[in-house]
Symmetry: C2
Subunit: 302 residues, 2 copies
Amino acid sequence: MNQEGRPQAPLMSNPRADRVRDVAKLAGRSSRLKTGRFLAEGPQAVREALSAHRAAAAVGGPAVVHEVYATQACLDRLPELADLARGTVLRLATDEVLAAMADTVTPQGIVAVCAISTATLADVLASGAKLVAVLCEVRDPGNAGTVLRAADSAGADAVVLTASSVDIFNPKAVRSTAGSLFHLPVITGADFSETVAALKDAGATVLAADGYGNVNLDRLQDLSAVRRAGGSIPAGADDGALPRLEASTAWLFGNEAQGLSDAELAAADYRVAVPLYGSAESLNVGTAATVCLYASARAQHN
Amino acid sequence: MNQEGRPQAPLMSNPRADRVRDVAKLAGRSSRLKTGRFLAEGPQAVREALSAHRAAAAVGGPAVVHEVYATQACLDRLPELADLARGTVLRLATDEVLAAMADTVTPQGIVAVCAISTATLADVLASGAKLVAVLCEVRDPGNAGTVLRAADSAGADAVVLTASSVDIFNPKAVRSTAGSLFHLPVITGADFSETVAALKDAGATVLAADGYGNVNLDRLQDLSAVRRAGGSIPAGADDGALPRLEASTAWLFGNEAQGLSDAELAAADYRVAVPLYGSAESLNVGTAATVCLYASARAQHN
């Protein structure tokens, strides 16, 4: 640790220090709510957090990272992380201190205290969002993480989690997002009805991903591909009434056991089914979201 | 337990009995290899296993389920499982015995000792397979399970795991497949080169899912949609040389950290990239496989 512009800080070596306990407490929801902070653990997550922090700082945005704690061994092994951390508070700590702070058994020598995003759906919509994923009562951190990663890969503009969904900032969920948490606005604790109303006001078509839906996603994709190619195909009876995947779209994804509720389904403009070609009884919410979001991305980008 | 045709068996109550230990040993690879059996735990997995067993029995196929162990409370709660189990060996056991047999903390009152499939790629290809997924050194049970479920949903004809891939019959992997293990042939321990040679001999186009691939999956999907609609679009320079998703296809999916090796890539006919629209650095293998297999399914079925 001998970088220009950063004060040398003493090595943190007491795993029972107040500051260490405060960081460890971020594994709990109440502490996250009180402080507006959460913990990213391990080199990959911290790298993504720091990259997002620098990108935000470059445009005068709010801080993404408050503090980074790392072992000297980690910084020796991954010197680019020390470079990336310039402009944030980087403190050296022992392995014992890192272990006391982290939820993972092996935080691999580095953690970052990050700011929970204060982005709002209104902000996202005002900036011209074309693709939004809404998670309705998704409870499993792994599923929420899979959907967030799929949304990130598909270039979605935001992910919204309704109030009774899993807390995406809990350590297991943060890990499952593999950094995507820092790539796009994630709006939590949203009221379902207000969210759908805002999306519709902004001109988005609201599509419910529903295994029993009467609209076949593959038909939408084929119609979109032909339309974008400037072609035409023999029209089905109802094709004119079908949603266009090229348009601004919000997808609703439901609870892993029950799917979307009747009220949630009724709020959507269309109920869209991902067809099942094999013997699977239903699609995992992560798989369904991947297929739906990629269908939209393909239509919107090509 | 008073069903016609099934002998009354005494309640199994000794968690240290040899038979209980033999079942518990199936959590280990060596016992699975020796016996050709694995354990399905919980009502959902057992239901799928028994359904597959009945379907196989109806066509004179080999046994899928050897024995079922359940608590009376479970059978009282889910009487359809007792019905499904007719024709197999169903033994009543105590909660303690079930707990000693199972890898899960709560097997929910029922487990089944199942036969590891002896299906071969030659059988699958001889029956006219159009869509096969090959997992090359995929190591994480959750990822393998996600790919298997996606293959099942997409109506794939088989999943092949190469020799150094995760053992899909270990308890965690079995759970992650959520029953799909019983829906399509799963071929394990395959030699990579022999597998690719057999696929090509059978006329399949071998596509490597590769983030750096020079063929864009979205272009393939658009070309396929327009072709199936009987239309035409302005041809790109190389479109004529591109693979057709409607054709018989085998997808290669690589290791989660390294992707496909150079040798594996070289063995494929084409290297196909799923485009990334957002900031994600790469796709999780489960997500990539979902998008690729669904693209093939859509082209082959519509």
